[in-house]
Amino acid sequence: MSNPPPVIEVTDLKKHFPIRKGLLRRLVGHVHAVDGVSFSIGQAETIAVVGESGCGKSTVGRTILRLIQPTAGTIKVNGTDITTLSRHEMRPYRRQMQIVFQDPFASLNPRMRADDIVGEPLMVHGIANKKERAEQVAELFVRVGLRPQQARNFPHEFSGGQRQRISIARALALNPKFIVADEPVSALDVSIQAQVLNLMVRLQRSEGLSYLFISHNLAVVEHIAHRVAVMYLGRIVEFADTADLFANPQHPYTEALLAAIPVPDPAMKRTRHIMQGDVPSPINPPLGCHFHPRCPIATERCRVEVPLLKPGADGRMVACHLR
């Protein structure tokens, strides 16, 4: 991954949402949704982002796509900085990056037909005429495992898994190099989930796609990701190869997270160490290490000093004073 520039490179990305209150929309504070995140994604690589609800996973994805404007940091696509490109300048890059959302119901316009949904990106980018477009759409349908006969149906006539396939087909329409998959299977049934995951893996192999795979399902993450970033309150606390992370978590939060996953095998029933307490609010995150109020091994230092994400043994990155 050294020679060609990474498909996506994010450096010190920050996104602080202003909180406005009242009728005069006065600024009363910020949600520190993403608070200094750096990573890169290589060709045909899947990076997973895991973490609890509200820790900023989706925000990272959206910011990379410039669907929301980052507060600070840079985003590079194939080595080009796109952080400050105008809407117009963004257009060519839009074709390289796409997104698939969690909610298969809300992510398709209920008033458009499936083929229009899939074909629309082609149209707005002026790719192909009407006839070619129809062909391409049909091909996309086949590629994601949908029957082209259903092309004229409305989204509500599809099942959740099929809808997710339409979403993927739409994302693939522009032949992107990189897809942000924001919890693409969380809303799906287990039996359907496998279909979608397999499809994603297949596509990655055949098209060399890179994924930013956002999820809170660690099992799925382990299955699909090459590397995993564990986020907590807007920061990456641990970043490692999947196998390493699952085999030997370094950060206490990662440990707790892994411990909390129920394993679908009664034979493996174990006494778990369950982390207590709630996730703090990202509006006023705890000082120092964000995790210290819930951390079983926190020390005085954790309360005051922000631990940096530093490379540890075997190239893993951990943000903990103690590990």
Binding site: K21, G22, L23, L24, V28
Partner: protein, 314 residues
């Protein structure tokens, strides 16, 4: 809370400023002016006299100056003089306000005490005969033009009692109240219907909520579910409608005061518009707008009392 109020009040002032500009401009767009109307009654026009009057009333000044004069007067509490009666505007408006206000209050009270319970009953008995009957009743209230309803009521009075209620300032307060009841019902019917409809749909909406199912799963009786759990939640949106309806009522009162010949501000406003009596119209409109925004503020405050989710802090 304090600073919230201050901000709300600032916003109210902004709105009122907008209203003042709007009404001032609209009125100046109206063809014809007070001088012509004054002459009209005499059926003659004397250009020299007309100029004199226009000058006397300051209507020859540039509009901006006129506007500034009005607003600065308003801020000093000086509402100017009616063009028609030449009496201070305040003396013309002030005595009429209690009449309209009490009529509106009465109509609103009537509509709330009928609308809310009927709405609840209609929702609880959804799709029964009773529900259909109540819905037809409420939709009728929204469909009958209030002036027609007023006329029919008057016809009924003549037919059955051989008399009609006439507003008389010399009545005792009790008689006055009794008199007001009829027009209050005529306008209140519409408001009642609206409130009932809203209560019904709000109630139905609430009854579908998960927490209602939770209550049922605890073994709460239907009555408990309906009145203890649902109604409380259902009235929240109804309160807004009461605020909005208060503004609407003034519209209804214009025709009702005309039909029942009640010397309130609503009818007075129409007369004043007709007569281009700008000082009256402008100040009265400002008063109405002021009442409406104040009511809205009160509604919002009431909201926060009823619904703990709405916090009025900082």
């Amino acid at each position: 809370m304090g600073s919230y109020l201050i901000r709300r009040i600032l916003l109210m002032l902004l709105t009122l400023f907008g209203v003042s500009v709007l009404i001032f401009t609209l009125l100046r767009l109206v063809p014809g002016n007070i001088a012509d109307i004054l002459f009209d009654a005499a059926g003659m026009i004397d250009p020299v006299e007309k100029q004199k009057i226009i000058r006397e009333l300051g209507l020859d000044q540039p509009l901006v100056v006129q506007y500034m004069q009005w607003i600065s007067g308003l801020l000093r509490g000086d509402l100017g003089f009616s063009y028609i009666s030449e009496k201070p505007t305040i003396d013309e408006i002030a005595p009429r306000i209690p009449i309209t206000a009490s009529l509106a209050a009465m109509a609103l009270t009537l509509s709330v005490i009928t609308g809310v319970p009927l709405g609840v009953i209609s929702a609880v008995r959804q799709n029964t005969k009773l529900d259909y009957a109540l819905r037809v009743f409420s939709l009728s209230g929204l469909s009958l033009p209030s002036f027609w309803l007023g006329l029919l009521i008057l016809m009924g009075f003549v037919h059955w009692f051989g008399t009609i209620p006439i507003y008389d300032r010399n009545n005792t307060p009790l008689e006055q109240l009794a008199f007001m009841l009829v027009p209050a019902m005529a306008v209140g019917y519409r408001a009642s219907a609206l409130i009932m409809r809203l209560t019904r749909s709000s109630m139905l909406e609430v009854l579908r909520q998960d927490y209602i199912r939770t209550a049922r799963s605890k073994g709460v009786s239907d009555t408990g579910v309906n009145y203890d759990h649902a109604l409380r939640n259902a009235v929240v949106p109804v309160i807004t409608i009461i605020g909005i309806e208060a503004a609407f009522l003034i519209g209804g009162l214009i025709v009702t005061e005309t039909v029942f010949n009640i010397p309130g501000v609503a009818r007075f406003l129409v007369e004043a518009i007709r007569m281009r009596d700008y000082p009256i119209v402008q100040n009265l409109v400002m008063f109405i707008a002021f009442s409406v925004v104040t009511i809205n503020l009160l509604v919002d405050l009431a909201y926060s009392l009823i619904d703990p989710r709405i916090r009025i802090t900082d």
